[in-house]
Subunit: 259 residues, 2 copies
């Protein structure tokens, strides 16, 4: 049987510990091609590079393992676009995986997530796509406890495929939370960040800010990603890219915009 | 009656022609505060600045009109966060408007749109929010034909409010398309970009790329934003930020992820 072709990207950059864990795990189940940012791109959301040039160069990051890899000057979404339309122009990936992110991308964080933008870009291209995130922001995060689950989820998606027009947003409890209880299919919890901007003076006397947000959970449901993670489960949210708030169409149609 | 407080942002930067047209129009109906990027931020999607500092300085961009304005080193989403939690900490805006973007943000472009990320950030904050885009990418685009419609839509939203958890994505046909026929409430058309990457050599012999996408409409519906714009209407799509593909939850629950 032909080995499945697996495209790996991320947003923490090609030298991060998280993508190494993901590449090594995917290497066990398929032929891996890596196209990832050459620098950290956290919080890039679904940014793409327009009006500027892109670099894409072969990378030595996974040379000892003999894995084909490229590093890109652009965003995670750029990486997947370059992979699909240039690097893999004549090869169709069976799976796109992104991560493993250093830090949660559950709930509202999915909007700001470079990890998930790579996965959603894969879904837009019609490819089964998964973003993986570990709820541990440390650069030295321990990914060992989650790799069997990452592998199982990837194998399941390779076997059964996914419904069209969505990517899976998979978040995994930190190792410090104890044993993982299982996998829950969830909806995105309603939540927001309440930002606190810390104002400082630079050495030249000019002010600048650090953004420091407090996460505010607005949801009491037990079917959300936040609930699953807080209770020791891996959360799996199917994320679409039709932003239309369909329920609001009749409400808006009753307003006299044309009046 | 107290004048409504209107926060204006955009992604083309505080010196663009589009934000000037929007500020001047909003100035006719309320008290305007501008917090906008100090440089173009097109294609930034819902990026935010984490792990780096932010600058926010008073701007002279609208000084002659006596309008309070700030320019920010960050993304459109950063601008709205800084506006809400710092500049307008003790003042609650009645309306957040973003744009007018130089170029369409209809259909799938909404994902990549800095204009809409500012509006959606407003909606996350619980504020009635609208992103305006003109289907004309030119830096010298003519906004004159759309200002009466922009004003009417803003007044309608100020009067009636909006359903929770959404922002309006308003796209307006270019002046060259002829007279505007009216306003249509729409859903986001299914579409994608098929990227063509043009490879070039720099003067040092290293290769680089330009991304050049072709827009591919995958939708035949007459209730989409693409249809409305092609037929001379202003499209209004309510855009949410719950990405959950709710219809897929039962499908995924039937897969043996825990097996």
């Amino acid at each position: 049987m032909r080995k499945p072709l697996i495209l790996v990207s991320n947003d923490d950059g090609i030298t991060s510990r998280g993508i190494r864990a993901l590449v090594e795990t995917m290497h066990q189940i398929g032929k891996v091609v890596v196209v990832a940012p050459n620098s950290p791109q956290s919080g890039m959301g679904h940014a793409i590079t327009i009006g500027d040039t892109l670099r894409l160069d072969p990378s030595i990051a996974f040379e000892t393992e003999g894995i084909e890899a490229y590093e890109c000057s652009g965003t995670p979404a750029d990486c997947v676009k370059l992979a699909k339309h240039h690097v893999l122009k004549d090869r169709r990936p069976d799976l796109v995986v992104s991560g493993i992110n250093h830090g949660s991308n559950s709930s509202i964080s999915v909007l700001y997530s470079g990890t998930m933008s790579a996965a959603i870009e894969g879904a837009i291209e019609g490819l089964p796509s998964i973003g993986f995130s570990l709820c541990d922001y440390s650069l030295t995060a321990d990914f060992s406890h989650c790799l069997e689950h990452v592998k199982k989820i990837a194998l399941q998606v390779l076997e059964s495929g996914l419904p069209e027009n969505l990517a899976l947003n998979v978040n995994i409890p930190a190792k410090s939370q104890g044993e993982i209880k299982g996998i829950r299919i969830c909806r995105q919890a309603r939540a927001k960040y309440t930002e606190k901007f810390e104002k400082r003076k630079d050495p030249y006397g000019r002010s600048y800010f650090w953004m420091a947000g407090d996460f505010v959970d607005l949801d009491q449901g037990e079917d959300t990603d936040i609930w699953a993670l807080a209770n020791g489960y891996i959360s799996v949210v199917p994320c679409g890219f039709d932003l239309t708030a369909h329920h609001a169409l009749p409400v808006l149609n009753r307003l006299p915009f044309n009046g």
